[in-house]
Amino acid sequence: MMLDRRLVLVSGKGGVGKSAVAAALAIVAARHGRRVLAIAMTEALGLASHLGVEALGAEPIQVHPGLFCSVIDRANALDQYLKLQVRAARSIPTTQLTKALNVLVETAPGVREIVTMGKPIFEVWEGTWDLVIADAPPLGQLQSYLTAPQTITGLVPTGAVREQAASLQSTLSDPAVSGLVLVTTAEELPIVETRQAIAQIDKERQILIAGVLANRVFEPLRTPRATIEQLDPSAARDAGLLHTDLTERQRVWLDTVPDDPQLPYLFDMRTPAEVAERLADECEALL
């Protein structure tokens, strides 16, 4: 089962509904009595709106019974990174050091990613939560976050940070602990790019792919196209044909990923929070 672990990263190509699915999976887990942290890794707006809150902070806030959410504040995360993990830091005024390193985090490649990737893993290590669901960076950036531990061990020859990176790596790649859920839609580019990402992640063995979800799938009409075409011109005919066309178009792409569970296109959704709640119902039925 997709959520049967301690850490679930959710990613997907931009615009496929990644944050909505992350929020929905968090809602599902909380409904089943688990204590859940939903954490936005790089961008808070999507997760916040799907959980029905205006904004997220570094401090987790409760949004449903058992469901908390927060965003990674890199300054804060770095502070934690140093305090928690690096013994040498204790002898140093950390606020001063952190101030210097904050600029480094924003500037030096690899450091930003390791601190961001480290935060949800620290949350798992601390044991406060039964499940941490991370709204991960979109597919295009995901690889640089997943490889961050290796990048750091390549750049830093010795010392605490290197050891740290190795520990992060082993938690991330442990299939009993961590998993990645990818969200796609039944369109050419999301499907193709998801498949490329899967191939690369499988090759590098950075994290187990716990599932791929096809989002916004139209349910086919039972009425055949020919029957609809014979009707007099009307809105009902046009809407029926559009729905049939969209369904057939999606089918072409869904046939290439027959094993991916599907989430339906949701009609008449007004707010992101409504989308996440309805998706949670669908995920619950699916899982």
Partner: protein, 349 residues
Amino acid sequence: MNTNVVVVTGAGGVGKTTLSAALAIAVASPTIRTLVMTVDPAKRLADALDLTGLGGDPVPVVEAPGLWAAMLDATSSWEAIVRRYSEPEVADRLLVNPYFRALADRFPAAQSFAAAETMSIFIESGSWDLIVVDTPPSAGGLDFYLAPEKTADLVGGKLLHWLTGAQLPGRRFLYRFTGKPLLKAADVVLGGPLLEDVAEFLLDLRTMYDALTARSHTMQRYLQAATTLVVTTADPAPVAEVVRFFEELTEIEVRPAAIMLNRSLPHAWADAALAPIANVPDPAVRAELTRNLINWGGEARRQSAAMAGLADRYGVPLVAVPWVPVPPTDPESLEALLAGIDLDELLAK
């Protein structure tokens, strides 16, 4: 030099690249030389225009006379930037520095800066009457507009300044500040010469500061003079992004010319869904098509509400682009996508 520039922005997945290509194809003619520039790492535009091997240099689109297409390669653009704006020996050092490639590849503002630089070069070449710029997918719509300044700040050495306490640190500072207790501490924590390496890299980058700052001001002028189009769908998430984009616009002197609502449905469906369907004899078919029309009519109504909300709030024209089941991938169907839209009015600045 009389180049009009159209910057197409919006959330990921709303169809920016497709609409950029459609606009460029619709406008291009032998007398209106048009360049469409995509900065999306995916080869989407290449697919849409049925082109292969689209590189950094503009290539003519065979099926569309007067149209050229170019795709941004951020890494090679940054190599060109370094060659152009720094001393040869500094450039040689920078280009082999491991941080340099990572910076060019991963720092979002660096990617946007490279795109803006490429755009500026195309503008200054005077080779085109119109340049359509498809912006990089970003978490915030403003990234593209803020990149010139952000990148100048980065190159300006905020970190260096902090580490060395000097406004314009020279290379010899590097050796002096390695003696600083703070840096020693950092090296203990980080377990290696990480900070030193970064500092050395930033020192080299710092030599380009004046040139890049001047350049970023030029880019900002071009961006302010451009016609900005915001693409969205009526889905709650992209609409929320449009709202945020407009709210942040106060930071920069850019005013979008229009919002393009992609995947829009006929308004008539909204009302039609309220009336019973009369012309379908089979009751099972009637029931299903009624339910289907209620679904889509609801979507049409929601779209109308979203559009009205955006129009009221921001007072910009809204352009509806119809929902087509099959994404257009050839010049003819791309152009057809914008049929019925007054492009002269849309692009009139």
